[in-house]
């Protein structure tokens, strides 16, 4: 019984849509926009999140970082707050001392700078160049496709050698074999010793792709960098050692080196992969909230449009309602038929919105250069929400239809 009613309601809706194409299209535009916005954003955030997971996976979920000061937004190096200024700058010796701990598998100081790569006529946009050690792939993953990594003597002495990332090679060297050639970073000459390939599907915010790795000592001498935001010690515990134990050992070691007394606060921050994910989640949470508010407005507008078109529809079909009642439709059945009609309208809008949103999301992801699957939960939510909007905003027109007096409705011109 409810099922035949459902079919009848859906048929009425398709009929109304067919006979009033433009009006229906305008009505569901708000729904389309609202759903499409949420869908595309969800798909992008999902994409970024997937890649961050991937990145943390490559880095190793146990890897943790030591910073001079942890803040989710970069600090202005020229106006550091006192609490940051009183902390010493991270030093290579500290990273080496941590590396010697039995709990630790890898520890090294890295510096990240933003510089242009140059070779003869061609020049890149400023891209990420790391100063690291020869074991950098323990953290970055990926591999060497040509040449070699730098040797420890090269790393220790600060030799002007560089490993260039594959895409950057293609950008500035084109078809030329880069090995052994001298190119410039930040105006200084470097000899190319190797070509590096990134792991698949790694998170790199647009414009922040890694393009070159040089020894830390070299970077320290060659580049200008900011000692708060750019320096980091990356630590990987030995297998079988918990992150907590490794962090404890590291903390003890650092405090000893910095001669901190018991009771003194730490003069460094230590963060785990989980904390990075937390920060990301908090940022995307805010982002999502804004998107949801914005798309709610669109959905509201869409809902009100649906209510308006349904009111018009009820009025223009007063006689039809009278006929249906004369033939035995109860109030409840009339109510449901109009509710289903409204829900069908918004469902069609939602479906179009999902397709538009996913397409837009795909295009954006293509442009930003990463790919992930379809966020199923958001499609399900969008469908449910659009049906819900139809039911909610269809309620007033539908109950108006249900309450019509059959005799008056039949007489209506």
């Amino acid at each position: 019984m409810r099922l035949t009613n459902l079919a009848e309601g859906a048929m009425m809706a398709m009929d109304a849509i067919r006979s009033q194409k433009l009006r229906s299209a305008l009505t569901i535009l708000g729904i389309i926009i609202g759903v499409a916005t949420v869908m595309s954003m969800a798909s992008i955030v999902q994409g970024i999140r997937g890649q961050i997971f991937n990145t943390l996976e490559v880095v190793g979920p146990t890897t943790f970082r030591i910073l001079r000061f942890f803040s989710s937004t970069p600090l202005n190096p020229d106006a550091l707050p006192r609490e940051v200024r009183i902390r010493p700058v991270l030093r290579a010796e500290e990273a080496e001392a941590i590396a010697r701990l039995p709990e630790i598998h890898y520890s090294a100081i890295w510096v990240g700078v933003f510089e242009r790569l140059e070779y003869e006529g061609s020049r890149t946009q400023p891209t990420v160049v790391y100063g690291a050690d020869e074991r950098f792939m323990e953290i970055l993953g990926g591999g060497i496709t040509a040449g070699r990594v730098f040797t420890s003597p090269e790393a220790r002495s600060g030799a002007p050698v560089v490993i260039i990332e594959e895409e950057a090679v293609a950008n500035i060297f084109g078809q030329i074999n880069p090995l052994g050639r001298t190119m410039r970073i930040a105006g200084r000459p470097f000899r190319v010793v190797g070509v590096y390939r990134k792991p698949e599907n790694i998170f790199q915010p647009p414009g922040q792709e890694i393009s070159a790795i040089v020894p830390f000592e070299t970077a320290k001498r060659a580049f200008r960098y900011d000692e708060t935001n750019s320096l980091i010690i990356l630590v990987k515990p030995r297998e079988g050692v918990t992150v907590a134990r490794a962090m404890d050992a590291t903390t003890v070691q650092l405090r000893r080196m910095r001669s901190l007394r018991p009771g003194d606060p730490n003069t460094f921050d230590m963060i785990t992969s989980d904390q990075i994910l937390d920060v990301f989640n908090r940022l995307t949470g805010v982002f999502f909230l804004v998107m949801i508010v914005l798309s709610s407005v669109a959905l509201m507008v869409g809902g009100i449009g649906v209510m308006a078109i349904m009111l018009v529809s009820v009025t223009s079909r007063t006689r039809e309602i009278g006929v249906r009642k004369a033939l035995g439709a109860t109030r409840r059945e009339i109510l449901w038929q109009f509710l289903i009609e409204a829900a069908t309208l918004t469902l069609v809008g939602g479906a179009i919105g999902i397709v538009v949103g996913l397409t837009a999301g795909e295009v954006l992801k293509r442009l930003l250069g990463f790919e992930t699957g379809v966020p199923v939960w958001s499609a399900v939510t969008a469908t449910a929400v659009s049906v819900g909007i139809g039911l909610a905003f269809g309620l007033l027109p539908a109950s108006r239809a249900a309450r019509l007096d059959p005799i008056e409705a039949l007489r209506y011109e």
């Binding site: 079919a7 039809e320 006929v323 004369a326 033939l327 035995g328 005799i407 039949l410």
Partner: protein
């Protein structure tokens, strides 16, 4: 007629309360209609014919008095119960046909069955049969605007028949048709009556009323005359 009548109206009154005054549309109707009767209701405009049809058709409820249909009292039923009675016991034919303009003849005829909860297959079967009975087997998939007035009224009759109602109610069914088509429609009603259908029809034309076997005349909301004619 020893057995109880199909329809029994006792002191049936219907008043409309407008601001200050009260309009008496029906003022104490006494009427009994038996199964397989063919009754014409006549009377001047405003005498209460339509109001009576609406009450008998369960679209309206009396202010006072009793209405018994098939041995149950309908006059005190709730809205939903009345809807069920309309769906199962009543077949309506209107002067203006009242077909759904965008639905095919078949779908129009299926409507009462949708509210009866009949399965799609059974609906289709019953609707086709009803359309065959009114001679429209070849017009099932036409929409109302592709049909003549007479054909539209046949679709409406088929729709009224499809639930196998106890009584067929028609309020001036030929009011919008020319005389030739009117005779065709009357022939359909005559045929249905011959097959056992109870028919109650409002008309103000004597030659249309002549098809009925009993003529009830209303005047100012009461039964003025009630004459049974022997079939010729």
């Amino acid at each position: 007629m020893a057995e109880q009548p199909l329809i029994s109206l006792r002191g049936l009154t219907r008043e409309y309360r407008m601001d200050a005054e009260t309009v008496y549309a029906l003022r104490g109707i006494e009427l009994a209609i038996g199964t397989n009767e063919y009754v014409a209701i006549m009377g001047p405009s405003g005498s209460g014919k339509s109001t009576l049809m609406n009450v008998i058709g369960c679209l309206d409820t009396p202010t006072r008095g009793e209405y018994w249909l098939n041995g149950t009292e309908v006059s005190r039923m709730s809205d939903d119960e009345l809807a069920r009675v309309r769906n199962r016991e009543i077949g309506f034919v209107f002067q203006t046909f009242n077909l759904l303009p965008r639905a095919t003849a078949l779908h129009n005829v299926e409507l009462p069955l949708i509210y009866a909860g009949t399965s799609a297959r059974e609906r289709r079967r019953a609707a086709s049969r009803a359309l065959e009975r009114v001679g429209l087997a070849d017009r099932m998939h036409h929409r109302p605007n592709e049909l003549s007035g007479g054909q539209r009224q046949r679709v409406a009759i088929a729709r009224a028949l499809v639930n196998d109602p106890s009584i067929l109610l028609a309020d001036e069914p030929t009011g919008n048709l020319d005389s030739v088509t009117s005779q065709e429609i009357m022939a359909v009603f005559g045929e249905l009556h011959t097959q056992g259908q109870t028919v109650l029809m409002v008309t103000h034309e004597a030659d249309i009323a002549a098809h009925a076997h009993r003529v009830v005349t209303l005047l100012d909301g009461v039964v003025h005359s009630d004459s049974v004619r022997e079939a010729a």
